[in-house]
């Protein structure tokens, strides 16, 4: 079981308290009704599914209930960092492999 640091609670808690919520930094258009088919496809259907570093959303559902973002390596399952929802994609990753 993974330990995940909740950026709101500011501590590591067991994975059981969390739920994954898919890829992060996919913003919903403020004019979604006017979006082209291609843009809507990208927004709704297309995901990166990388081997390696992924930016994803988690929810501390059995804790503070907040959604937040995490950077995780899909190969090692290691969490590189977590940060609050709404914060920009980190430019530099601490301790990331390469």
């Amino acid at each position: 079981m993974l330990l995940i640091r909740c950026p709101y609670c500011e501590e590591e808690r067991p994975e059981l308290e969390f739920r994954n919520a898919g890829e992060a930094h996919i913003a919903r258009s403020t004019n979604i009704a006017g979006e082209s088919d291609d843009d809507f496809e990208k927004f709704f259907f297309i995901r990166a599914n990388p081997k390696g570093v992924i930016y994803e959303r988690w929810r501390h559902i059995h804790g503070c209930a907040r959604f937040f973002n995490a950077v995780r390596d899909t190969v090692t399952d290691k969490f590189i960092m977590t940060y609050k929802a709404g914060e920009p994609k980190p430019a530099k990753l601490p301790g990331a492999a390469k």
Partner: protein, 997 residues
């Protein structure tokens, strides 16, 4: 009387404490502290099982967890019959009953052994090649036959009556393995004051000190030192010592799963003791001290009972006081088997000969063996073992060929060298590295905060092991925040040391031979099978493994992996590391389902949620159904009523008079704040801004893809306060969906969401008399049609307690839903029930609720929709705000597929024969005479007998359904095709007049 092969003066067990046991219905006597294996060996019993594929007679290979052969069934009673128990691990208790497996009619005469004679038919990949055709035969013929023939052991006939405990804990340093290395590491760590847990799979600590008679530490015999050290560790407050505890899985971030066998070794465990305890330990640092496992030699008939690992024979002698034979032969490729020969010789056992594959080895153990007068043959090989149910001889030949000599023996002790147990290291995702000099895989690159010490790290020699382990224990503790320890490192006065050996097949079993030289005993894989796999194109060890099943049995190839790998590498002409090692996976040894499940079974498997009126409903004889975690009253049968009669009566009474229904399980969410209406506009298809306070609206929630996600009636209590209801099953996911959008997409909205499902009990009162039933109990609410029209909500009091009173209907009748604080739910229900009785109202359950709503064509999300249904498909276009510029799903609704013609639409179905009730899920076709496979154009989503209509009714999703009104369609069923007519969805009161009736 002492058993025939028990040697007085040898071993550590007290001869006074005898324990009787039975094996295959024959009684024997053993000693407390024995394993089933040592007790059988003490009685001269070697034959204990038949092999999986060839049904060959098998004995004991080992004295530990790596045992592939001696698998038995241990029987306590009808419910406690454990198959595939390793006799080398099962501790003896007085009265133990064990049986052999995979034999018929008896162990000594097994009909299945015909497979051995026919073995050329069963070579590697046999199943893949033979049972390929005809295609149908696999399921109906081959698989059942193979399963019947190959099963090991039998299942108990009753549910497991034992209970299994579970513990989570943390520590700074977790030490896995309690041999010399593990104990030294634990001592060093414990002395720093940090929390330490030391676990070992055996009943007693000491590891290989159990058999290494040459070890001396701190002036004591090695095993005695280990017991003293364990006693010291147990006395420390910061140390937990777990024996009989196997670390079976090493997971992320130093999370280790262990199983403690609490009572399998006891005669009468008693109900207060769990059978096993699952430990889930998170450690700051892990020290892996799992030792090494001796390998067997690969030669013809190396599986005959009596052929075993040299260290096993030594363990049986030095720990259990049991001689594995009276006249043993030794076959080795390294020094360690010499020590076994020396110990046995000294105990009075004749050692017929040592056969050493090496040309001119030298060393103290060789000198000592020679001095004891043991015949030693260098540069020679055992090419075959004689005998069938027990080994009777070994045939010796110079390793490069030449004259054979047959030596009579009753046991062969073999050692091809030692394989470091890197299983847990590998599970931790560490990468092993091949050491070319010592030809073994050892820990290479670490992935977690752990360290391997001793034999599992490829460290040879007791002195070096203790040095390394003690330093590692101290370092781990320091890194985890420990202080500097005050203890002294254990001093090694004498130790044993060996390494090297050989990998792969020995002489006589090499390329071109067809002898049965076993690599994997448990899965009956021979050296020839591995070579054949390579010849047939399996060039990766992962493919060789799957093709031959080498290493895939429950022992996971603890003794076989390296031999198999070496043979494949030789055949491929590649170095071993290029062929690669298969990945080790949890569990290290088999784990019972019971220990994983723990207490989470039966009533404790899942939480049960009960509504406030549950007790009342139960007292009325309600039959309950499970809806998610909820128990809901399904129907309320009166004396003599079956389900149909009860539901018919409930449905008719509701429409004639009235009925009470517990709707508490519906999800309820309060949406509060200055931007509450804006938020509702975004989350639901409907318009909300203009809904007046005190009014209700049926809302539809979509996902972004445009499909219906949930629905429910929403009441606006105040401009900034909505009382939202959801489906019963959808409550948590709707809450999550709302929170997700509020927190991440619309965080600028000032809104609070609160789940209030459990705070409010909900009593639906429906039917023409509903107002008459409620009104006498209500204060402060004008209940006239003008004061409280259909689809309105009022706050006031009922029976003196606060209520949110909704006027709404899921039956099509005049109806109310009375929300009261859950604590008052039962009392208010009883008061309403008393009023209802005056009018002849009924209590009704979920089945009648379903029928009544279907009569009105009201959908149930998740039954009439399936995640691919749009509001338009469901005939609910009116609920989508046409002027809205944004809501979740607005863009999805305009996707080309969602606006295409011919989509499946919800319609009503009327069977031509009104008495026929369709099956929910049944498929619908336009032409029943078309050839199979037919084109299916839809399916039945809801179907009931409607007593109110006097006929069956159904809802269905049908392609282009609304354009098919009046068409006849067909529902092909196993007993014939049912004709149906497509009609509208409303079966009762199409004009909706009864809502105010």
């Amino acid at each position: 009387m002492s058993a025939a092969f028990r040697i007085s003066g040898a071993g550590r067990l007290s001869q006074a404490k005898t324990a009787s046991f039975s094996f295959d219905d024959k009684s024997y006597s053993g000693i407390e502290g024995d394993t089933l294996a040592s007790a059988l060996l003490a009685n001269g019993v070697h034959l204990v099982g038949r092999s999986f594929k060839y049904h060959r007679p098998r004995g004991f290979l080992s004295a530990g967890a790596e045992e592939p052969n001696a698998l038995v069934q241990v029987v306590r009673d009808d419910a406690r019959k454990t198959p595939n128990v390793r006799a080398t691990v099962q501790e003896l208790y007085d009265g133990l009953t064990a049986n052999s497996q995979n034999r018929w009619p008896s162990l000594a005469f097994d009909v299945g052994a015909v497979n051995d004679i026919a073995s050329p038919l069963f070579s590697a990949g046999f199943y893949y090649k033979t049972f390929m055709w005809p295609k149908w035969a696999w399921k109906d013929l081959y698989e059942p036959k193979i399963r019947a023939a190959a099963g090991l052991g039998v299942s108990p006939e009753k549910p497991d009556p034992d209970h299994y405990a579970s513990r989570y804990t943390h520590c700074e340093v977790l030490v896995l393995g309690g041999g010399a290395a593990g104990i030294a590491a634990a001592l060093a760590a414990a002395e720093t004051g940090v929390r330490v847990i030391l676990a070992d799979e055996q009943a007693e600590f000491g590891g290989s000190l159990r058999f290494e008679s040459g070890a001396k530490i701190d002036g004591q015999d090695g095993y005695a030192w280990a017991q003293g050290a364990i006693a010291r560790l147990k006395a420390m407050d910061n140390v937990r010592v777990l024996s009989r505890t196997t670390a079976f899985g090493y997971y992320a971030q130093n999370f280790v799963g262990l199983v403690e066998r609490v009572s399998d070794h006891l005669r009468s465990p008693g109900r207060e003791l769990a059978r096993e305890r699952l430990w889930q330990i998170r450690a700051n640092r892990v020290v892996i001290a799992t030792g090494a496992i001796e390998r067997h030699m690969v030669f013809a008939n190396n599986d005959r009972p009596g052929v075993m690992l040299a260290s096993a024979a030594r363990t049986y002698l030095n720990h259990y006081g049991v001689a594995v034979g009276r006249n043993v032969g030794v076959y080795t490729a390294n020094d360690s088997a010499y020590a076994a020969a020396i110990d046995l010789k000294k105990a009075g056992v004749n050692v017929a000969a040592i056969v050493d594959l090496r040309d001119n080895p030298s060393g103290p153990v060789i000198d000592e063996a020679r001095a004891l007068g043991i015949e030693i043959n260098f540069g020679r090989a055992v090419v075959s073992a004689g005998g069938k149910l027990r080994v009777s001889s070994m045939t010796v030949q110079p390793k490069n060929g030449g004259g054979e000599r047959t030596i009579p023996v009753d046991a062969i002790l073999m050692s091809a060298g030692w394989t470091p147990s890197v299983h847990l290291f590998s599970q931790s995702r560490g990468k092993v590295a091949f050491n070319d000099e010592t030809r073994r895989f050892v820990p290479g690159t670490y992935a977690q905060d752990c360290v391997s010490v001793g034999a599992c790290n490829g460290t040879d020699g007791l002195d070096a092991t203790i040095d390394e382990a003690y330093a590692a224990g101290a370092k781990a503790a320091k890194e985890a925040g420990g202080k500097v320890g005050k203890g002294a490192k254990p001093k090694v006065d004498a130790g044993e040391s060996w390494s090297r050996g050989m990998l792969g097949a020995g002489p006589g079993a090499g390329p071109g031979t067809t002898v049965k030289a076993f690599v994997d005993f448990q899965n009956d894989v021979t050296a020839k099978d591995i070579r054949q796999a390579v010849h047939e194109g399996m060039h990766s060890i992962e493919h060789v493994k799957r093709f031959t099943t080498n290493g895939m049995a429950t022992d996971q190839g603890k003794t076989s992996n390296m031999h198999g790998l070496a043979i494949a590498a030789e055949e491929l002409g590649k170095p071993i590391p290029q062929v690669g090692l298969t990945t080790f996976r949890a569990p290290y040894t088999p784990v019972t389902f019971g220990s994983i499940v723990g207490h989470a079974r039966g009533a404790l498997f899942d939480p049960t949620r009960r509504t406030a009126t549950h007790g009342w409903a139960a007292s009325q004889g309600a039959v309950f159904e499970d809806v998610g975690h909820w128990k809901r009253a399904w129907y309320f049968p009166k004396a003599g009523e079956d389900m149909h009669k009860a539901v018919d009566r409930e449905c008719v009474t509701v429409r004639k008079v009235g009925g009470l229904f517990d709707a508490s399980t519906l999800g309820k969410i309060e949406v509060v704040g200055p931007d509450a209406a804006k938020f509702m506009e975004l989350l639901y298809t409907n318009p909300w801004e203009k809904l007046e306070a005190g009014r209700c609206r049926y809302g539809i929630m979509l996902r972004e893809d445009g499909f219906i996600y949930d629905d429910g009636v929403v009441g606006r209590l105040a401009p900034d306060r909505f009382h939202v209801t959801t489906t019963t099953g959808g409550a948590p996911r709707v809450m999550n969906h709302m929170e997700d959008y509020l927190q991440t997409e619309f965080p600028h909205l000032n809104v609070w969401l609160t789940s209030i499902t459990e705070q409010w009990a909900v009593i639906a009162v429906q039917g023409p008399k509903s107002r008459d039933i409620i009104a006498p109990l209500v204060e402060g609410i004008d209940m006239s049609d003008e004061g409280m029209p259909h689809m309105s909500v009022r706050e006031g009091r009922i029976c003196g307690v606060p209520t949110r009173l909704f006027r709404m209907s899921f039956t099509g009748e005049r109806g109310f839903e009375v929300n009261v604080p859950a604590d008052y739910g039962e009392a208010v229900w009883e008061a309403l029930w008393a009023e209802g009785q005056k009018h002849g109202a009924t209590a009704y359950g979920t089945e009648a609720m379903h029928v009544l709503r279907a009569e009105k064509g009201y959908i149930i999300v998740g039954q009439d929709t399936d995640g691919t249904v749009t509001p338009n498909d469901a005939g609910l276009d009116w609920a989508v705000g046409k002027k809205k510029t944004d809501f979740v799903g607005i863009r999805g609704l305009t996707r080309s597929d969602l606006v295409a013609k011919g989509r499946k639409q919800l319609v009503g179905l009327k069977t031509k024969d009104p008495k026929v009730v369709l099956e929910e899920g049944a498929q619908i076709v336009a032409d029943p005479k078309q050839p199979i496979p037919m084109k299916m154009i839809g399916h039945v989503t809801s179907s009931y007998w409607s007593e109110n209509c006097g006929r069956s009714i159904a809802l269905a999703l049908v392609a282009g359904g609304r354009n098919r009104m009046g068409e006849t369609l067909y529902v092909p069923m196993p007993n014939g095709t049912i004709e149906v007519e497509v009609i509208g969805m409303v079966f009762v009161d199409e004009k909706g007049e009864r809502l105010n009736g």
